[in-house]
Every structure is written in C-alpha cells, then in structure tokens.
C-alpha cells in the first residue's frame, strides 16, 4: 500500500511462509514476536488457540458491542410497548391495567436477543473488514490451501523491522515449506 522500498519491482505486501502444521505456525508466530516483528498475520484453516495472542492481537470489542445492543433492544421494546399500550393507543383488554408490564416481557426478551445476535455477527464482519473482494494474500496461488490443510505466516512489508533479505532469512530459519514474496 504505502510501501515504496522496491523502486524497480512491483510493490510487495509482505513475505509469506507456508507451513505443514498448526504447531509450526504457532511456533513461527511466537518466534516472530520474539524477534520484534509487529505487523504480522497468521492464516489457518481452523481457529488455533493462542495464535491471536501470539501475533499480538489484543482487541476485545465484540462482547461490549453485543452487551450495548442487547440492552438497547430490550429497553426500546419495553418502552415502545408501554408507549403503545398506555399512551398512544390505550385499549381495555379484560380489565387489565394499561401498563401491564408482565405481558411486555416476552417481546422485550425476544428483541434483546435479536439486537444482540445481529450485532454479534455484523460487528464481527465489520471489524474483520468483510466482505472484502480483494486481498493481496490471494496473489499467492498456494494460498488456496489456507482454507484446507496448510498454514501461512506473513510478515508485512509495512513492518518497521521488515527487510526483504533479512526477513526472508528469518522465515527460512523457521523450517517452512516455502517462502514467497506476495505482491500488493
């Protein structure tokens, strides 16, 4: 993106190392963190516990969003039912009070869940930047197996410690199947 180091060749997104196992990927991420790399990403065909921490991922936003959305949904539903049944359109139903709050519980509960669940999914997609039609990692044809049975580790060119030769040597030292430079 903003990388202009290689004036002659095409700009690169980073160096991508391909591994055979989840263990090798986790070890690579740990080693890179230890070596001081910060702009890295790890790709795997299933969630691996501890991997997000190993690449320095600390964001914990989704649960907060979901809590706020659930509270909003419940409050909105309850106050709307109160407004409809006691203020805007008071109807005498079986002599019950207009503000018969017990009968407002089921709808308030359902809307709490509805708001919270949609927020969980939408905030997950939004924070992940999905849907995303293009991403440079797909420029490596071998990356098709990142969704199947291979594990990939990328040190991005925007990393302050990134140096094409040194970083390549570092990645080669992690015993990968292959290290390739991925075009941006």
């Amino acid at each position: 993106m903003s990388h202009h180091a290689a004036a002659t060749g095409p700009a690169i997104h980073g160096l991508m190392a391909e591994f055979d196992s989840a263990q090798a990927l986790l070890d690579a991420a740990t080693a890179a963190q230890k070596a001081g790399y910060t702009r890295v990403d790890a790709y795997s065909p299933f969630p691996i516990h501890g991997l997000a921490e190993a690449i320095g991922f600390r964001e914990r936003l989704i649960p907060k969003f979901v809590f706020v959305a659930g509270a909003t949904g419940g409050t909105l539903a309850f106050s709307f039912q109160y407004w409809v049944s006691a203020i805007d359109y008071p109807l005498n139903i079986g002599g019950r009070p207009y503000f018969s709050w017990v009968s407002f519980i089921p709808v308030s509960f359902e809307l709490t869940i509805l708001f919270a669940a949609f927020t969980a999914v939408i905030s997950m997609l939004a924070l992940n930047g999905l849907p995303q039609p293009y991403h440079p990692v797909f420029n490596n044809p071998a990356f098709a197996r990142a969704s199947q049975d291979r594990f990939f580790f990328v040190i991005e060119a925007t990393d302050p410690r990134f140096d094409l030769d040194e970083t390549r040597a570092f990645l080669n030292g992690l015993n990968p199947r292959e290290v390739v430079a991925v075009e941006d």
Binding site: S21, A22, Q23, L25, D27, A29, D41, A42, Y43, S44, P45, F46, P47, I48, H49, G50, L51, A52, A54, I55, F57, E59, I62, P63, V66, F80, V84, S85, D88, L91, I93, R96, S100, S103, P106, V107, F109, E110, L111, I113, L114, A116, A117, F118, A120, V121, M124, L127, N128, L130, P131, P133, H135, F143, A144, R145, S147, Q148, D149, N175
Partner: protein, 468 residues
Amino acid sequence: MSASEYPKGDPRAPIPVITPGHSFTSITDKLSDMVLTYNTPLAWVITTAIGFCLLMLLIVALAYLVFTGIGIWGNNAPVGWAFDIINFVWWIGIGHAGTLISAILLLFKQDWRTSINRFAEAMTLFAVACALIFPLFHTGRPWLAWYWLLPYPNTMALWPNFRSPLLWDVFAVGTYGSVSAIFWFTGLIPDLATFRDRAVHPVAKRIYGVLSLGWRGSARHWWRYETAYLLLAGLSTPLVLSVHTVVSFDFAVSVLPGWHATIFPPYFVAGAIFAGFAMVLTLAIPLRALYRLHDVITLRHIENMAKVTLVTGLIVVYGYACEAFFGWYSGSEYERFMLKNRIYYGPYAWSYWALLLCNFVVPQILWIKKFRHNLAIVFTVCMFVNVGMWLERFVIIVTSLHRDFLPSSWDMYYPTFWDFATLAGTIGLFLTLMFVFVRVLPMISIFEVRTLLPEAHPKPQHEEGAHR
C-alpha cells in the same frame, strides 16, 4: 470423558467422534467432494423428486386456499384451530434440535455435536419456514395480516395488542427464524471459503467466492469469529427455550380445560427437543448411508442422539402425567370431564393411546445398548416419535376444543383433503430444501471437524528463549 482416557482395548471406552486415521487433507477432500464432484446418488434424485412433487401440491393447496378462503379446511365452530396450529407447533418443535445442537451442546463442550450441527441447523431453518406457512395462511389473507402482526405506523393508526400470546409468537418465531439464519450463515462462511478455493467450475467458484465474503482465515478474523459464534450460542440458548415457551403460552394463557396448565412451557420445550432429535436422526441415518459418512457420523453420534431422545421422551411423559394429575386434582368439573373425554370415552380417545404408544412405549427400547446401535431400530423408533409428536398436538388441540363448556356447541372435527394436502406439501417443501442444501452446501461443518483432530491443538512454547 474422551476415548484416550481409557486404557487401550477397554470396553468402557466410548466410540470415537471421528474414525482415527484422518488428516486435515482427507477430511477436506471427503467433505467437500460430496458437493463439488458430479456425485448425485440415485436415492437423492428420487427423494428430491418426491419432495418436489409434494411442494407442487403445497402450491396448489395454498393457491386454492387464497382463492376460496379457509373454508376449504375442516376447521369449524368449536375446533377453530386444527391442522394449521397442529402442524405449526409440530414443525417449530422439530426445528428446536438444530439450535439445541449448535448452541447448547457448544456451551457444554460436547465435541460430538460438530459432525451434525450444520445439517441440524439447516433443518431448523427449513422447519421454521414450513411452520410459518400455517399461521400465515390461517389468517386467510396474509397480505392484509401485517398491520396486526407487526407494529408499524400505518394509516389506520392501529397498533397490535402486546398483551396477546399470539403476538408474542410473532416476535418469538420471527427472532428465532432470523437468528437461526445468521447463526447458520456465520457457521458456513469458512466452509464456503474452502469451496471457493476448491471449486473447479468457474461459476461455482464465483458464487462460493461471493458468499464466503473474502474470508481468508486470519488469526485476527478467527478470534473475532469465535467470539461472535460463542456469543451467538449463548444468546440462542435462552432463545430456543423461550420460543416453545411462548408457543405454549398460546394455549396455557387461555382458560380452556386441557390448555390452561402451568406445566405447558417446560413440557413443550422437552417435546420440541424430543421431536427435533428424532427428526435429526431420521435425516442423519439415511444421509450417512447415502454419502458414506461413517467416519464422521459414528455410532457415538447415533447413540448420543438416541439417549437424548429417550431422556426428553421421558420428560414429555412426565408432562402427560402432570397434565392428567392437574386435571383430576383441580377438582373442576370441566377439567375432569376433559380428561375423561380425552382418555377414555371421547371419540378421539384412540389418538391419546396412539400417542402414548408412539412417545412412551416404543422409545423405551432405546434403553438397550444393542438397539441403540442398530440403525434400523433407531430409525423406526424415530418415525414413531415423529408421528407421536404430531399426535400430541392433535390431542392437545382437537380433544380440548371439540367438547368445551356447552354441550350444545360440541362438534366433531374432520380434516379435509386440503388439510392433508397442505401438511404433505410442507413435508415436500422441507425435503426439497433439505436435499438441495445437501447437494450445494457443506452439510457437515468442515472447519469444525478439522479441530477434532489432535494435531489441531498445538502447544504454546512456555520457556523463554526456547527454540526447536
């Protein structure tokens, strides 16, 4: 307890959740080639054809209904709710197993759920779609029903009655349907990415590519994904319990003998899980044989589901006992009459005894391990349960309504051809959707099955400066 905690050859060790010897590659190949190769078993074609014919019958039945009015059904003055509500509750109940498997068993860390959750969730969605047809068309003119179903500011300045259980139903089932849909789609995203990367046909590649939203399996994405998925599971758990509770309020909040009972919410929820697991088994046993899924749907799954069916069946029977006890203990003349009418001298007493045969007597053979491992027997028991749970709703609705407080208003209820046609039609809709789903989408969650392999759980390096 996992199989590895037992010494080798110990007969107490449970059957593994996945047959040993698989790798990430073999699982991915097996589960995606089912869809991505020219592999259409003859049994698939025949079942889909039958389902499609019944779906056409549904369209005819609904078109005739819209042209003529709900007089074509057998509903009459005392039995104002009949097949429409029986079938609605039956389908909604079947839907419950999907969410139970995907959400509640996830929270309880039952790893065997992984092989069956995807198609159970799909089953939920399709069952809810079938269920919604009945109340929607029972309104007679569904296109006019919106203003009393949904609170939107309309020109008549009318709002729906929020004190009515029928309106709670709209919100409960609407939330359930939409949350189940996003839960299902969220689960599909990583597998759609696998399909995108494996599909050969350019059109298929493009379609799966668009649907997978550009998923690339980054560790950051997985972390957010797992958080969102866990939260969805946590939210769906009370949701699934609330849905059948609200459905039971349709009955329990009324003052009709046979409906007005406090046992209804838990008894309905247990019945829903009972019916749902029976339907999951009804689908899983043939699909397992058809697509040779013996490695990922092992006898462990069949046995566990059979056990859940047995236990929830016993809870349901406890519900029947409570209902009968409440009727007798209430001391109310009408309650006691309803009970005797339902159980022995009423014209529909046969349905009560048929219900007990299907839901109480037959499932008891699942106590025996040998029978739980016999697929033909488990399948037969599940067919009994499918029928029994339909009969349960028939008993609750028709026998309570047909002889109410005033003998002068008593009448018999006879379903018409169109009642049966609509029921058969929704079964067709269900079969068609289910089999099309199996053909075009991953019916087993591929990425979750990968995590069942031991090599999916690497050990972090603890010692400072440790190198391999």
